[in-house]
């Protein structure tokens, strides 16, 4: 299959909008990475910036969130939009646990394992029933939320901090969904599945302490 056909299929009108949105989300997110804050920012704007950066500066968060979008695109409708709708709310529930001081064992390991599990699901092109996929993603969302939530009380402006990391998480999903559009072609499918393998490898590196 030649490159021209591959590009034509990837940029069908329906996919083009999603691809543009994903590209815009990626540009917006990574343009924020340059100011690395040593502490939580001050004021509403500082809180928003800190929150936006929090999922980006944690590679384990980042790959898992892109993986959720990737797997949603793989699963197709309605998972492609259901997962980004449900995930923030379940993540917030985990965050509420973190704020309330309810202990959740092995949070960092859970986050690393989420990258492994979701990466493997993408790499093996697993297509379980929707409720199973939602259960898997929801379970891991609690861990991610708990990790973000424990830092909420020390943020200068908790509301804008929460807004920042929720929006950043959603935009990472969108990046994953955009990349998932490559599955329209057979070569793209292999590329996406390879990406799933990379996500799983990153998760394994965090779980074993290499990262």
């Amino acid at each position: 299959m030649n490159v021209q056909v591959l590009v034509t299929r990837a940029v069908r009108p329906r996919n083009r909008t999603l691809l543009l949105a994903a590209a815009g989300a990626a540009i917006l997110l990574f343009s924020l990475v340059s100011p690395v804050l040593a502490h939580e920012g001050e004021g509403a704007v500082g809180g928003l910036t800190s929150g936006l950066l929090h999922p980006l500066l944690g590679l384990d968060h980042l790959v898992a969130m892109v993986g959720v979008g990737l797997w949603g695109a793989f699963l197709g409708m309605p998972a492609i939009w259901l997962l980004p709708v449900v995930f923030p709310m379940v993540m917030a529930l985990g965050g509420a646990f973190g704020i309330a001081g309810l202990p959740l064992p092995a949070v960092e390991s859970g986050i690393a394992f989420s990258a492994i599990a979701i990466g493997i699901c993408v790499a093996l092109a697993l297509r379980p029933p929707l409720w199973v996929a939602a259960l898997i993603v929801g379970a891991f969302a609690v861990f991610h939320g708990h990790a973000h939530g424990t830092e909420l009380p020390i943020a200068a402006n908790p509301l804008t901090y929460a807004l920042g990391f929720v929006v950043a998480t959603g935009l990472l999903h969108l990046v994953g969904i955009g990349l998932g559009m490559l599955t329209n072609s057979s070569a793209g499918q292999y590329a996406v599945r390879a990406g799933g393998g990379i996500i799983a490898a990153v998760g394994l590196a965090f779980l074993t302490g290499y990262a």
Partner: protein, 219 residues
């Protein structure tokens, strides 16, 4: 080149200007009108108000156009009423009420709930009232209170109009899904901040009272 294909490069240019420009201090070009501009932005700079108003405007935009118009009218009436009551010092609002409202309305947006008028109208009125009653321009000088009120009303109702109008204009499937995703973000943020508020209040209640000399009252 048609108008739609011009939008993308124009949008990219506008985005680049705002994304890569350094922050500038905003000041009014006309002497004395800074109060108007300042209070026009009031709802945006109070995050709990912005969250509740945006959630309600999204919900109104998801309804049929007739319900959207009625909802906006009732929201405006509620806002002005609340503002008047707070200005004379009869009542004020609280952040947790706004966040609870944002949680509920955001959930309705994520479910794309088509509300009947008998529910939508009181809801819009209550939201407008709740924001208005917490927006009194108490820090504005007495001789500029009218400008402050004008700024508050135009800014708040303008934001509601723009958000609900844009939402109502979204007709494609993926656009309406995007609105539902934004609703879920509002739910998530409101839930997190409410949890924090409750946790902090619980910690304050548990702390032992201290005397003026710093020793515990129980010693």
């Amino acid at each position: 080149m048609n108008s739609r294909s011009c939008l993308l490069p124009i949008g990219l240019v506008v985005f680049s200007v705002f994304a890569f420009s350094s922050p500038a201090l905003a000041h009014s070009p006309i002497e004395g009108i800074s109060i108007f501009y300042g209070y026009m932005l009031h709802t945006l700079v109070v995050p709990a108000h912005a969250l509740l108003l945006v959630a309600t405007s999204l919900l109104l935009g998801q309804q049929e156009i007739v319900l959207t118009r009625v909802g906006l009218t009732v929201l405006a009436a509620g806002f002005v009423t609340g503002l008047t009551i707070s200005a004379v010092g009869l009542a004020s609002g609280s952040e947790w009420q706004h966040l609870l409202g944002a949680l509920a309305v955001g959930g309705a947006v994520s479910l794309c709930w088509q509300a009947p008028l008998t529910v939508l109208a009181p809801l819009a009125a209550a939201v407008g009232f709740a924001i208005g009653v917490d927006s009194a321009p108490s820090e504005a000088p007495d001789d500029e209170k009218t400008l402050a009120f004008a700024g508050l009303i135009s800014g708040t109702l303008g934001l509601a109009l723009v958000v609900s109008g844009l939402t109502a204009g979204l007709t494609r499937g993926w656009q309406r899904i995007g609105v539902r995703i934004v609703g879920s973000w509002i739910v998530a943020v409101a839930l997190l901040v409410l949890s924090l508020t409750l946790a902090r209040d619980a910690m304050v209640e548990k702390s032992p009272p201290y005397r003026a000399d710093g020793r515990s009252a129980g010693c």
